[in-house]
Amino acid sequence: MVVVGAGPAGLCAALEAAQAGVRALVLDENERGGGQLHKQIHRFFGSRHHGAGKRGFEIARELMEDCARAGVEVRLSSAVLGCFRTGELLVDGPQGVYVLRPRATVIATGASEKSFPFPGWTLPGVMGAGAAQTLVNLHGVLPGRRVLMVGAGNVGLIVAYQLLQAGAEVVGVVEAEGEVSGYEVHLQRVRREGVPVYLRHRLLAAEGGEGVEAALVESLDDGGVKRFRVDALCLAVGLAPQAELAAMRGCRISYAGELGGFLPWHDRDMRTSAPGVYVAGDAAGVEEASVAMDEGRLAAVSAAEDLGVLDAAEAAAIKSALLARLEGLRGGPSARSKRAAKARLCSG
């Protein structure tokens, strides 16, 4: 089995496969394993199965160590360039470009940051919130001294707080909706630091010569325009599943706005419409790391079953435990619309 992506979904898929007796190889284009987790310095929620209370990069390190112990090979700096209809994968790794012919493929490629065009969006200093997080948490470099954050979801709030902790001034968080979609704890942390959260406001434009110098923000209620002097403007306007490889493979693609947009159709057990191809984690709909982990495990059990390594009864027993856990993870009020979207997708 080949797993594309060494985030929580991919690593847990490989671990579960190894446990079932399937040889698993994980490929990731990054030079570090762990996917999104390795840039997270905050403590995670969830249960003990999902590393709750630990920081993201600690969970990433533990999963990588577990893989090494379980005999899972993880090839880093290895990008999967193509996934052909024949089932072959084209890999660009440190040794060059080569082809793999796996009997089962798990696509766990995660999500990419969304963006939107506005006047000035190409100015240096305008960037994704994830880019700012990479700079500050991974490389210890501030993206700017005065930052405006656009989007008050979890990513916007968490990155705003991390920028504050690193010594930047966050002049505000702008959110078009009338309420914050991120968790209350993250909102309170930002507010306690005195950062204003502008609800029902939208970004109009970025201004500057050879880099962003100001951001214009409009109130959706009275049309008033505020001008913020900034040297960094961060966009946290959502994530989209990375479904390119699945599309290339010929997997049926569906749409679910609540889960980030276009994504590979899959059944409850993470099988796509293409035989031998499974999907898990943010690539199967943007949710959370804990969900990604259990979806990865589920995908691996389905693959092991389809490969004949697990019999139907063994697979069913593991799956029902995992599905019950996923049900619990999606139980909260903020996950309700995602849970409904997932159910619609799997039945359609």
Binding site: P124, G128, H139, G140
Partner: protein, 94 residues
Amino acid sequence: MVAGEEVTIFVDGRRVTARAGEPVAAALYAAGIRTTRFSRRRGEARGPFCMVGRCTECVMTVDGVENVRTCTTPVRDGMRVETPGGRRHGPSGA
């Protein structure tokens, strides 16, 4: 989380101190340089946008090779980095 030792790279001929292992784009940001290229048609300044190798806004000429994504390319001692389209506003880049 960065522990790399100090190395020197040359950005349009100017010496910039960087830490081994960090991507070129991060070293440039740390040095106050956020423009990585000028767009071909209009000559507009562009800089790192995604930091994960997806958007290609950060491409520069590295050791003579054009269109290298600097956000996913680690620095090496003595590396020569050039701004495509030429650096016209002095080395501050801000």
